[in-house]
Symmetry: C2
Subunit: 222 residues, 2 copies
Amino acid sequence: MDAYKYIKGAIIDGRFEPGMRLGEESLAKELNLSRTPVREAIKQLEADGLVVPLKRGVSVRNFTTEDIRQIYDLRTLLEGYAASQAAIYRTEEDLERMEIANLHYEKAIHKCKASDLASIKEIVDVNQQFHEVIVGAAKNAHIHFHLSKVVVVPIVYRSFYWYNQFQLQQSLEFHKIILQAIRHQEPERARIAMHEHIYQGRDHVLRHLENIKHNHPQEEEE
Amino acid sequence: MDAYKYIKGAIIDGRFEPGMRLGEESLAKELNLSRTPVREAIKQLEADGLVVPLKRGVSVRNFTTEDIRQIYDLRTLLEGYAASQAAIYRTEEDLERMEIANLHYEKAIHKCKASDLASIKEIVDVNQQFHEVIVGAAKNAHIHFHLSKVVVVPIVYRSFYWYNQFQLQQSLEFHKIILQAIRHQEPERARIAMHEHIYQGRDHVLRHLENIKHNHPQEEEE
DNA sequence: TACATATTTTTTGTATACAATAATCATGAG
DNA sequence: CTCATGATTATTGTATACAAAAAATATGTA
């Protein structure tokens, strides 16, 4: 599914702005495809909640701060639970994978002196990998499945640009706490640490959003 | 989306058995449609997790008891949280709706002397309505969205046929406890009651499955 | 007979065509 | 000038056609 990845990517990195209408024909032309595969991609994106159905066609979804708060609550609940379950069911292999992911994370953070696009993207990926391993270690395929579908809010993706070195280090420390709790089979501690970790991410995003709102009172686009 | 509802219905009530391959062309002929809308329906069902992709085409998913256990764990987590949030954020209108849904549930249970298809279907619907209202009262649209997508396992749907009058009454009692906890704004109590309620449902399904396994050692179909 | 390769058949993925419906624009009446 | 109604245009939903890939079958050889 190529059209899907293209459109999703364009939404996430902001080329398709919230509220923008997505016509099948124009997208098809842009992608040198026929409408058929574009249609399928759009249907998928609709199921993902990234686009919103209109009476005719769809438009890029606009996420409110309330949406972001709710999505983070959901993630906290699911990933917190996953962390606690991982503390119970993790294998030695799981622990090894977490260790590796965390080492990669550490390396990516320290490499990232300049806030260039590539190294930020790497941090996002490696961070995601760590969370992924934990969810995998929880041994609940259905929670894994749903977590993979928790809406990827574009603004959240881009929020990594706004971390400073201290915040990245803080984030790494929490990864270590979570990993230790899982290693020592302390489910409640793992859950709580994951909670706090994700809530810090949430607050970071919300603060960032507040700043934007204050500096650019309103720049809408239809 | 008519093809979607048709196929989903056929899977849920067992006309399309687990493992059965679903060809686009044959379904299109069965529905007097072209392949295009059938294709879209199948894509949807794939996103729902009701069919499983093969190298070519899809087949009806076969749920293991482990799947069912995991799905119920997920539901417990999400609906338990929803109940606790509902206890905080419920309006008077929410309470009224819960009351009404519960009254309907009570009526449906008592009407259901004979275990005929129609009255069972009504119980399923009204029960779902009660749960729906609670999730709505939690005021988190994203949790609502995900809960609506938690896999509808066919066997679970059909498990209502196997409730006896006592179990239905028990179920109603838990509805009442949950409702009271939400009314009195006791989040933790609401969460725990919802937990127990759903786990009882899970155990009912799993017991039912054990019986089937013992009585019909194995009747497979490809 | 058993296995490997070639050929046929089936089935999916994509493109295009057409019909139906919603949105837009234009025209005319009040 | 404004609103309503009708004509025009744009856009989606469905059907069909064709190409590409996979599965099934057949054929030949050891």
